[in-house]
């Protein structure tokens, strides 16, 4: 963020400078009352064992200890990190590959593509989840496709399969986020001076070389943004998981968000749910901070 020196304009406006805060106040109050304070309240609740009804009991960091020891809770964090591969790494790799292929050209007809690739971004994730639940079902498109090519042995209820469920959920994320990554990179690459590509070609650079030495260095900002957005989407993937698998089969696709909901509102373990929410919040904050730090120091 650009920090402006706190120079006061000369003359009358000394104490009057504070008056501008009148404009900030309404937004500030709503934000603090319904987002910041609840977040702090979560941290406070995480120090208690509380069923939501009777009086809570102070347990200090006990809930956090339980997160480290409980296999289901640990599993949920692990699953979230697996989802990062599908929500983040794969879409970014796909987006970069496409950008590498298309960077150099004027791209007629991109409008229609842009519309389609951004489409999964705007529709409710719940609707996305319901759609994929149907595609992955016994009679869904995925099995139909396998049957058509004669691979009947592969067909299964994908979301109910112990080995396949997490990957299946992950691929939904890939479907949602690949277009966004691609569009981010393609719009970023427009800043590149076309003569750079010409120069690279004249120097005898192949497509790969050209991508690494011309395209990629210009996409540092976009890359950081894509990593941040997709990683946060993977870690806070409640909507998709809730409607596709609800964490099953077993605990194969359980994610922290799902457990926060379940622990607090059906199992009466409010303190533990709060602690898990804090862990999730810190994980997101740490990753966002790390990505931004790295992308900045390298420039």
């Amino acid at each position: 963020m650009p920090s402006r020196p706190p120079v006061r304009p000369p003359g009358t406006r000394g104490r009057g400078a504070w008056r501008g805060y009148v404009y900030v106040l309404p937004a500030f109050l709503v934000y603090v009352a319904f987002a910041v304070l609840p977040a702090l309240h979560t941290a406070y609740l995480s120090l208690f064992e509380w069923d939501g009804v009777t009086l809570g009991e102070w347990v200090g960091l006990g809930n956090y200890q339980e997160i480290l020891q409980d296999s289901v809770l640990r599993r949920s964090v692990f699953n979230a990190l697996v989802l990062v591969v599908f929500f983040s790494f794969v879409p970014i790799a796909l987006g970069l590959a496409m950008t590498g292929l298309l960077a150099r050209y004027r791209r007629p007809g991109m409008g229609a593509y842009r519309f389609l690739f951004m489409l999964p971004q705007v529709i409710p994730l719940v609707a996305v989840g319901v759609t994929w639940r149907w595609l992955y079902g016994d009679d869904g498109l995925v099995n139909q496709a396998f049957r058509t090519v004669g691979l009947d042995g592969v067909t299964r209820a994908w979301l109910g399969d112990f080995d396949a469920a997490l990957v299946a959920v992950g691929l939904v994320g890939t479907w949602v986020l690949s277009g966004l990554c691609m569009m981010l990179f393609l719009s970023g690459v427009q800043k590149v001076d076309p003569s750079l590509y010409e120069a690279a070609r004249l120097d005898g650079a192949g497509p790969v070389r050209e991508f690494v030495s011309v395209t990629l260095p210009h996409l540092r900002g976009e890359l950081a943004v894509a990593m941040t957005v997709t990683t946060v989407a993977a870690l806070a993937s409640f909507d998709i998981v809730y409607v596709t698998t609800n964490g099953g089969p077993g605990e194969q696709t359980t994610v922290p968000g799902l457990l926060v909901y379940r622990l607090a509102f059906s199992e009466g373990k409010v303190g533990l749910a709060a602690a898990l929410a804090v862990v999730l919040g810190c994980l997101i904050l740490a990753i966002v901070y790390l990505i931004n730090r790295l992308s900045r120091t390298e420039t």
Binding site: G20, F28, V142, G257
Partner: protein
């Protein structure tokens, strides 16, 4: 550009477009599959991507009235109508002050707002339920509206602040010399110029509000008051076999945002990409 064209191989260009088309098809097919399932006559077993023998819109009728999707849509609209104008007004006011005035500690306050961009719903939803229940704001649209405004405030303030920072300072100075108060400057000079930014912000906020799921699931436990996504999520749990009605319901839930996206795609896409970049 033409130079690059001649030195580049044609095959690269076509393989690029070929892959783009394959990916575009991959995006479309799930939608197509749901749509085709939604127009199958009720009671027919549906498989994958099947062209219906007879087109039937009865499922939409069924989903709209019997399964209650008309109510769900209405509830979602009530919430969005509460959230969008409030977000725009609050963000315009705060963005104006933080973007054009030299407030003591203004940058710290702006950073405080921006820090909220990383707050996931999961982090706040548990105490919100208990706190709002105490205030009688669970099972109420007002409760959801207030929390959504708060959740979208970091981005909204940030967006409007960035907008006002980019308007020429000379405009403000000139108006001030003419004796205009700070409120007049905002209303008469800056807001008319801010319409495109406000429009994009309004669309994004509407979309986030429409798509919000976890918050509604927790704060509105009364299923007769659910919003469209929450109702759809609940409906899935109840009716796993009635694929055509479920598909029609899914389309109904997507349709409003889809129409907005088609009409305002420029604003939407610019907002999503710039918003991501700036955030």
């Amino acid at each position: 550009m033409t130079g690059a064209m001649t030195t580049a191989t044609r095959s690269e260009r076509w393989s690029g477009y070929g892959l783009l088309t394959i990916m575009a098809i991959a995006v479309v097919i799930p939608f197509l599959s749901v749509f085709l399932a939604s127009v199958q006559p009720a009671g027919t077993p549906v498989v994958g991507l099947t062209w219906p023998e007879r087109w039937s819109w009865d499922n939409y009728q069924q989903a709209w009235s019997v399964a209650g999707f008309s109510d769900l849509i209405r509830h979602s609209l009530i919430i969005a109508v509460g959230v969008v104008p409030a977000c725009l007004v609050l963000a315009a006011l705060a963005g104006y002050a933080l973007g054009t005035m030299r407030l003591p500690g203004g940058n710290a306050v702006a950073a405080f707002f921006i820090a909220g961009l990383t707050i996931p719903v999961e982090l706040i939803v548990v105490p919100l339920y208990f706190d709002l229940r105490g205030l009688g704001l669970t099972n109420s649209y007002l409760g959801v509206i207030l929390v959504e405004i708060a959740l979208f405030m970091p981005f909204s303030v940030f967006w409007m602040r960035t907008h006002f920072q980019s308007t020429p300072q000379s405009l403000v100075e000139a108006a001030r010399i003419d004796g205009a108060s700070s409120a007049t400057i905002l209303l008469r000079v800056l807001l008319p110029l801010a319409r495109p930014s406000l429009m994009t912000l309004g669309l994004l906020v509407f979309m986030w509000s429409w798509n919000q799921f976890l918050l509604v699931l927790v704060l509105i436990q009364d299923t007769t008051r659910h919003t469209a996504p929450a109702g759809l999520g609940f409906f899935v749990g109840q009716n796993t076999t009635d694929i055509p009605t479920l598909a029609a319901g899914t389309i109904i839930v997507m349709l409003p945002i889809l129409i907005l996206f088609v009409v305002f795609q420029r604003s939407f896409i610019a907002g999503l990409l710039q918003g991501a970049m700036k955030g």
